[in-house]
Symmetry: C2
Subunit: 486 residues, 2 copies
C-alpha cells in the first residue's frame, strides 16, 4: 500500500490549523495561499458546460480511425498517424505544431494461427503477443499444461513444464477502475520468460480481457536478457474456455495437444515522432500545462478507445481553450506520444529532450483509458498546494466527479517525468467495459458514445484552463521515494 | 398478409357456439371433442416444473461444442458430429438409434482476406459467404460502389455497377422475433447473383447481424443457374462502418478501392447422416411426435446456439419423457438433421425416405433459434383441433408462454413435410440477441445460460409428452395452398 493522503482531509486541516496538520518542511514553504479568482471560475464553468452541448471530439477520433486505422509503432499506419496529427492540429488552430523525431521498435504479428490437435481437433482464434518470436516453419505441436496464474507458474516443477506448451489460464475480473488488469497483465508481460526458463516450448495466455468475444487481446511482453525466447500468443476467452474444457474432459490416454504457428517478426528500429501543438500562454508562455495521449495503437483494432479517444479529448479540450476571447496565462501543450504501447519511446524521448523545461511544467495529465465518463479527479501535487487543487477539483463537481487522493499516476507517458516531480492530475474514467475492447480487433469507432467524449472534454477543458490561468501553482509533486512501494 | 386465425379466439367460439364459428367443412369433420385428461396434465406439469430445477441440456451442448466444435456439411467435423450424435443418443437411453445416410454439398471457406486499398488503406475483417466462388490468384481489386438494399441493386444502372465491387450496405434491425433477418437476408442469398448480372466483379455484404463485433456473419448464398458467379463476402459491421465512412469522406480524385482474396472452394458431394433416436410409444408405436434440430453448423463458430442448443433441448426433453415410469402412447422421435444450413439435405432426405409414415406423424416441432426463452406457442393444426391444441398450449402458461396463431412454420427442416400436412408446433424463442451471434465466430458455449435451456426443455417436454399421450389428434395441418402468399 502507498501512503494515503486524501486531499479533502488535508484541505480541512489547512483551513483550520495548517501548521498543526502539515509537516514543518512543507508548512514552511507556504507563505501565502492563492485561490481561484471568480473570473477564472466562471470561464472554466463555461468551458465545462458548453462542451456538454457538443464538441468536435468524436469527429477527431472518427477521422483518425477511418483515415488511418491501426497504427502500431514503426508501421506504415504509424507514419500516416504522425502526418494525420500534424495536419489535424494545424486545422484545429494549434500553434507551434511539430513532429519531434523518436526512434521506435518495429515488430509485426504476421499470419498466426493455431488449433487443438487432439483429442478433439478444433481451430482456435489467437493473436501473438507484442514482441513474441515466431515459431519455426510448420509451427510447434506439443502437449498443453494449464497453470492458473503466474505465481503458480513461478513455483511450478520444471519436470511438469519441460517440452510442453504452458496455458496460463487466469480470468480477468471486471471493475470500474480496471483493477482486474493489474492482477492479470503480469502474466502477459512475463509469462513467456518464466515458462521458457522452466523449459516450456510456447506460452498460450487466456486473453487479459473481460469480454467473451472471439477477439483475442494482445499487448506487450518481454523476454529476459539472455533468457529463453519462446513464442507467446493469447487465445480469445471463448477459445480458452474450449481448451480448458478439453483439458478437463480428455481421455487419459489422449492428452491435449496444441499446434501453434506464429509468423511474427522483429524488424529494424523505425522512425516515428511525438506530435506536439500548443495554445501559447499570454503571460507565462514558458510555463506549461501538458495534456497527453498516445498516437500509436495495437494492430488488431483501429485504436478508437486506445487511444484515439484520449487524443480527441485532449486536442478538443485545448482547442476550445484556444478559441476563448483571451488565451490563458500559461501555455497548454498537447502531446500525441509515439509508441506508448511497446516501450514508451515517445514519453522517454520527450522527458529527455525537454528536461530543462520540466521544472516549468506546472501540471501534466494524460487521457488513456478509453471514452468512459470521468468520475474522479486525483492529484499528485505538493501537499501545501492541495487546497488550491481542491478548488480546481470542485470545478468538476457538476459533472459528477468526486475528489480522489494525492497519488495520481497520471498515465504511462508521464512516468518518465517523475524524477522532475512534475505535478500530475488524473481524471479516472469509467472502465467497466474498457477491457472488453482494449487491445482487440473490437477497439473500433462504433464503441464510442460521442456524449461520453463530450463529458471528458468538459472535464479536461475546465482543469487545463484553470491550471493555465490560475495565480500560483501546485509546487512540485511529492518525491517518488517518499512513497512506500506498492 | 396471411390469414389470421388466433387459436384463443377459436377456442372461445367453440365452447360457446361451435357450429356458428367454424366453417361447415371443418365442423362436419368433428364428431366429438377429445380433451386432455387430468393425469396427462399432471404428468406434463411435473415434466415442465422439474425441468426448471435443472436439466442435462447444457451438458449435452457442452460436449457437442467442446468435443466436436465447427461441423459444416461435408467436413470432418460433420462426420464427427454424426458419431457424437449416435454415441450421445445411446448414452441418454434412446431406442432405435441410427444414422440415415444423406448426401450433402461440401464447400470450404479457405483462407480469405481483404483490405481497403485506397484512399486510406486498412485491413478488413471478412468471411466468404457459403457457396461463394474464390477470387483469382492474387485476388480482385476494384472500385467500390455502395448500394443501400437489394431492391436498389435490382433497379441499378448497369453502367454504375460494371467492373465494380458492390457493397450492399443494409443494416439489420434488432427484434425479439428476429424479423429484421427476413428484411436483410435476401441480400445475402441473392446479392451476388443480382450484382453479377449487372457486371459487378464481387459482392461485399454488410453482415446480416445485429452485433458490433469484428466477427463477420456468413451463411448460404446461391448463384442463378447459368448466371455469372462472382465472389461474395461479408464484412463485420465495424468494418462495414469504416468502408461506409471512407465512401462518405474520400477525396474526389481518390475513389475507394478494395482488394479481396477469397480462397473458398467447392468439393465433391460428401456423406453425412440424419441421426435419429426414439422413445418408443407404448400403444401406438407407429404414430410419431417428431422433435427436430440440426446437427450441422457454419464454420466460424462452434455451433452452440445454431443449433447445438436446439439439439440439446430436444434430446433432453425426450430423454426426460423416456425416463417416466410409464412411456407415452405414441413414439417420440428426435431427429438431428444433416445439413440444414446449406440446402436442407437431411430434411429432404427424411421426408422422402419416410413419406409413407408421414400421415402418422401427428405433430412435429423444431428448435432452431438459439437458447433464448420460449415466449409463444403457435400451431399449424386442423381448425377443428384448435380447442385441443389450446388445451395443450395452456400447459405452458406457467412458463410465461402466450398462445400464438395457427400459422406456425415449425422450422426449416420441417418444410419438406408440408405436402403431407404434418401438424406443426412452433415455440417462439426470445431472439433479441440471437443475431448478435448467429453464423459468426461468436456462436460459442459461453453465450448460453443453462437456465434458459432448462426453460426450453420444460416447454418441449410438456408439449411432446401431451401430444404423445393425448386421446385424439390434431387432424392434418391446413393445406399449404389455403394460405395466401406472403
Amino acid at each position: 500500500m502507498r501512503r494515503v493522503l486524501p486531499g479533502s482531509l488535508l484541505s480541512v486541516c489547512f483551513l483550520s490549523a495548517a501548521a498543526a496538520c502539515l509537516t514543518s518542511d512543507s508548512a514552511a514553504a507556504v507563505p501565502s495561499l492563492p485561490s481561484l479568482p471568480d473570473t477564472l471560475r466562471s470561464t472554466a464553468a463555461s468551458l465545462r458546460d458548453e462542451a456538454l452541448q457538443g464538441t468536435r471530439a468524436f469527429e477527431i477520433v472518427r477521422s483518425l480511425t477511418v483515415e488511418v486505422g491501426p497504427r502500431p509503432a514503426g508501421s506504415e499506419g504509424d507514419r500516416r498517424a504522425v502526418a494525420w496529427g500534424l495536419r489535424t492540429m494545424r486545422e484545429l488552430g494549434f500553434a507551434n505544431v511539430r513532429a519531434e523525431a523518436v526512434k521506435v521498435p518495429h515488430w509485426e504479428p504476421g499470419v498466426s494461427t493455431g488449433e487443438i490437435a487432439s483429442p478433439w481437433a478444433q481451430p482456435m482464434v489467437l493473436l501473438p503477443l507484442g514482441g513474441s518470436v515466431a515459431t519455426p516453419d510448420g509451427g510447434i505441436e506439443a502437449e498443453v499444461v494449464a497453470v492458473p496464474s503466474l505465481q503458480d507458474l513461478e513455483k511450478a516443477d520444471p519436470e511438469k513444464i519441460r517440452g510442453k506448451i504452458v496455458f496460463l489460464n487466469k480470468r480477468m475480473e471486471r471493475a470500474r477502475d480496471g483493477s482486474g488488469y493489474g492482477q492479470t497483465v503480469p502474466g502477459r508481460g512475463r509469462g513467456a520468460a518464466v515458462a521458457g526458463k522452466l523449459g516450456a516450448v510456447a506460452l498460450l495466455l487466456r486473453s487479459v480481457g473481460t469480454d467473451n468475444n472471439r477477439t483475442p487481446h494482445t499487448g506487450g511482453m518481454r523476454y529476459e536478457e539472455g533468457g529463453p525466447r519462446i513464442p507467446a500468443a493469447a487465445l480469445s476467452n471463448p477459445d480458452a474456455d474450449v481448451l480448458e474444457a478439453q483439458l478437463a474432459h480428455h481421455p487419459d490416454d489422449k492428452p491435449v495437444r496444441f499446434h501453434l504457428v506464429l509468423g511474427s517478426r522483429s524488424l529494424p528500429e523505425a522512425d516515428s515522432a511525438n506530435v506536439i501543438g500548443e495554445i501559447p500562454g499570454r503571460e507565462k508562455g514558458d510555463e506549461v500545462v501538458l495534456l497527453g495521449c498516445h498516437l500509436d495503437s495495437w494492430f488488431p483494432g483501429t485504436g478508437a478507445i486506445d487511444d484515439g479517444a484520449g487524443c480527441a479529448i485532449m486536442m478538443e479540450a485545448a482547442r476550445r481553450i484556444g478559441a476563448l476571447p483571451q488565451k490563458p496565462r500559461r501555455t497548454i501543450r498537447v502531446i500525441l506520444y509515439a509508441n506508448e504501447e511497446f516501450g514508451l519511446s515517445g514519453a522517454r524521448a520527450y522527458a529527455e529532450k525537454h528536461a530543462a523545461e520540466l521544472p516549468k511544467h506546472i501540471l501534466a495529465g494524460e487521457s488513456d483509458f478509453g471514452s468512459g465518463r470521468v468520475w474522479r479527479i486525483s492529484s499528485s501535487v505538493a501537499p501545501e498546494a492541495l487546497p488550491l487543487f481542491d478548488e480546481l477539483a470542485k470545478l468538476l463537481t457538476p459533472l459528477g466527479v468526486e475528489r480522489g487522493d494525492n497519488e495520481a499516476e497520471g498515465g504511462a507517458d508521464l512516468s518518465p517525468m517523475a524524477p522532475a516531480r512534475v505535478p500530475l492530475v488524473g481524471l479516472s474514467q469509467d472502465g467497466t467495459y474498457y477491457f472488453d475492447l482494449h487491445h482487440t480487433a473490437n477497439d473500433t469507432l462504433d464503441k464510442i458514445d460521442p456524449k461520453d467524449l463530450d463529458q471528458n472534454v468538459a472535464a479536461w477543458a475546465a482543469v487545463a484552463y484553470a491550471a493555465a490561468e490560475m495565480p500560483g501553482d501546485f509546487g512540485r509533486a511529492p518525491e517518488p521515494d517518499t512513497l512506500s512501494p506498492r
